[in-house]
Amino acid sequence: MPLYICNARQGAIDGEAKQRIARDITDIHCAVTGAPPIFVHAVFFEEAAQFPLGDKTLAVRGTIRQGRSAAQKDEIASKITASLIRHGGIDSAQAAAEIRETPASWVLEGGEIMPEPGEEDAWFAAQQARREASEV
């Protein structure tokens, strides 16, 4: 977590564009929130019924840990939209990004309950300690 789901019209973007968008999403999320890159997942689908495109060519739905400010969420959405426009070769009316939130305490990742935003260092230290203990 976060999980960014990108849905696209059939053939709208190639593999190279997907990789670039995935890297942008990771960089944007980490720059805005300070979260570590390893938390950031991005997956791409074409015309997946579960994630309706509406009138868009490319759309991203990001589910992030609860606790970010409205300004942070707006910044993430606008920068991801810009990445879709740039790498998808589309105009602004064809791209959209929305951000939803999930409490960190509802998510287990890497074998541990996700940390609250800003508590990542302690989480990684606890995870490292658990790994070392399991190797003994």
Partner: protein, 106 residues
């Protein structure tokens, strides 16, 4: 009825394994949440999943509990869910993200 969404990377859970996973998820839901469960498989095509901007092997399993859970109870269920997933698929705990949400309050 609980809807369980499973976002899985290409090749990680072939059809035969999915059937076993669905059975195990149903058993989990019956035993711990006292509800039946339907699995909505969302396979990620090869080359379409990324973690930290690089090709990913992570899957996501997400469901909503029929009633609000205490955090102690939720953590127990999440660990059980991850345990059954790693047992069935052979993946590591670093390759599975599990989410158990509370129902939306109206």
């Amino acid at each position: 009825m609980i809807n369980c969404m499973c976002v899985i990377q290409a090749g990680q859970a072939p059809d035969q394994q999915r059937a076993a996973l669905a059975t195990a998820l149903n058993r989990f839901a019956g035993e711990f949440l006292h509800e039946q469960l339907t699995v909505n498989w969302v396979p990620v095509p090869a080359g379409n999943g990324f973690t930290a901007g690089e090709p990913s092997t992570s899957s996501v399993v997400s469901l909503t509990a029929p009633e609000a859970l205490s955090q102690t109870r939720r953590e127990t269920l999440l660990r059980e869910l991850v345990s059954l997933w790693t047992r069935q698929t052979g993946c590591s705990v670093d390759e599975i993200v599990a989410v158990i949400a509370d129902p939306v309050q109206h």
